[in-house]
Symmetry: D2
Subunit: 143 residues, 4 copies
C-alpha cells in the first residue's frame, strides 16, 4: 500500500477560543489516519512481537497550516508512505475540506521495543508490517 484515505468530522472539543481548531489537534487527526491505515492491513500500532511490546514513538513531526479548519468541517485525510527506513517509517499527510487544502504534515516514527529493561530500543520494522507498506514511487522525468 502506498496511500490511504479516511474522513472525520471536526469536533467541538477540537476547537479553542479563537473559533478555529487548535493546532495540536491536527497531529491527532494524522495519527488516527495512520492507525486506520495500519488497521486496514491487519496491523495494530501497539502490539506484541517475539515476546516484546512493540510501539511507534515519534522521532520528528511537522505541520504547515494552509487554510482555516472549523467545528463541523468534514476533513479528508490522505496518508502516503514517503520513506521506509530500516527502523523508521515516514508518512506524509494532506488534510482537505471539500477539496480545499487545509494543512500538510509529516510524521517519522521509529519501531521500538517499549518494555526493554534498558528503555526504548529501536528495532528493524517487522516484515509483516514493512512488506505491506511501500514508499510512493518517485516520479522521475526521463529527459
Amino acid at each position: 500500500m502506498h496511500q490511504f484515505k479516511t474522513r472525520r468530522r471536526v469536533e467541538f472539543v477540537d476547537t479553542d477560543l479563537s473559533g478555529l481548531v487548535h493546532f495540536s489537534k491536527y497531529f491527532v487527526f494524522m495519527e488516527t489516519a495512520e492507525h486506520e491505515m495500519l488497521r486496514s492491513l491487519g496491523v495494530s500500532i501497539h502490539t506484541r512481537h517475539e515476546g516484546f511490546e512493540i510501539g511507534w514513538p515519534r522521532r520528528a513531526v511537522s505541520c504547515e497550516y494552509v487554510s482555516p479548519l472549523r467545528f463541523g468541517d468534514e476533513l479528508e485525510i490522505t496518508i502516503q508512505v514517503e520513506r521506509k527506513g530500516r527502523t523508521t517509517m515516514t508518512y506524509g499527510f494532506c488534510l482537505e475540506v471539500e477539496g480545499r487544502e487545509v494543512a500538510r504534515g509529516r510524521i517519522t516514527a521509529i519501531c521500538c521495543v517499549l518494555d526493554d529493561p534498558t528503555g526504548l530500543r529501536a528495532i528493524p520494522v517487522p516484515p509483516f508490517i514493512a512488506d505491506q507498506l511501500q514508499a510512493v514511487p518517485v516520479e522521475v522525468s526521463d529527459e
Copy 2:
C-alpha cells in the same frame, strides 16, 4: 491529611469556541489536584505494590458548573477526602477563581491491580496510602 489546595492557570488549549473552558477539562484539573496531593504524601497514582501494577480507575465522577471559567484565570482547587472505603477513595473538589465558586465535583476511585491476567481487580487500599488520608470529620451537632 483531610484537605489539600493547589493552583493552576487555565490554558488556551483548555478552551473551546464558546470562549469558555471545555467542561471535560474540569476533570483533568481535579485529577491533577488529586495527584499533587498524593505526591505531597510520597505516593504515586500509578505504582508497583507487592509485585503488581497498582492504579486508580474511576468508578463514578460528577461536576456541577457554577460560574464561567475562562482562558488565563488562575484556578484554586481544594480537594477533600469525603469517604475512605475498603477499596475506594471518594474525593470532593471545590474550584474557585479569586474567591468566586466556579465548580464543585466528586471523584470515586477504586484501588486496582491493573496487570492481573484476568483483568482489573479491586484490592484494599494499601495501608501506606490509606493511613495518610482521613475523611473529613463529619460535623455533628450535639443535640
Copy 3:
C-alpha cells in the same frame, strides 16, 4: 426524537498509561453523540438566533464507569432525552462495546446567549430545537 445512536472507534490519544481510556474522554464521547443527534435534526450546538450567539454550557454532568474501555474498541453510544426543561435539556447516555455496558452518563445543558455584554444569560430553548426533542415517555404501570 427520543433517542439517537452513534458509533466511534476509541483512539490512541484517548488512552493513558494505565492502558485504559482516560475517564475525562467519556464526556467527549457523550458530547459528540449529542452534537451528532442535533446535527441529524438540522441544528448546530453553536448557532446564531435572533441576533445572538447561542450555545449550551453545561450545568451538571456525571458518569459511572462499569467495565474497561480500551484502544481500538468500537463504542456504541445511545443518547436519550431524559428531561426537557424551559431553559435546559438533560440527556442520558449509555456506552457499550459489543453489547457489554461500559459506562452510563448524564449531561444537563443550559441554553444560553454567549455574547450578552453582561455575561452568560439563560434563555428558553428555542422552539426549532425544543419541538424536535421529546423526553423519553415514562413507562407507567397501570395498576
Copy 4:
C-alpha cells in the same frame, strides 16, 4: 526579551498507553511557554487591538523527539525568539528534564485579525508586542 524559561509537571492525562507522553502534547507545552512569556510582558495571546480581535494562528510547527518523557517528569522549557517577521513571529523551544534534552521544536505564528468579515487577515505585529521581543542575535564569526 530574547529568551524565557518556565517549568511544568507532566500530567497523567498527557500520557498514552505506551507509557510515554503523547507526541501532540509537546506542542501544548510549547504553546503554554509562549503564552507565559507574553503574559510576563503584559501581552495576551488573544486580545483586542484597534477594535479588532487579534490572535496568533500557526503557520508552521515542528518537533524533534530526543529522549523519553514520562508522567511526573518536571519539564523545563526554554523559548527563544528566532525570527521576527513583519506579520509573523518564529519561536524555538528546548525541552529538558533535569538537564537531559527531551525535545526541540519550532512554532511560526502569524498575527491575524480573527473577526474580519472576510476571514482571517494577517496584520503587522503591533508595536507594543514587537518592541518587546527581540530575535536572538546571530553569532557571527569575524573572519
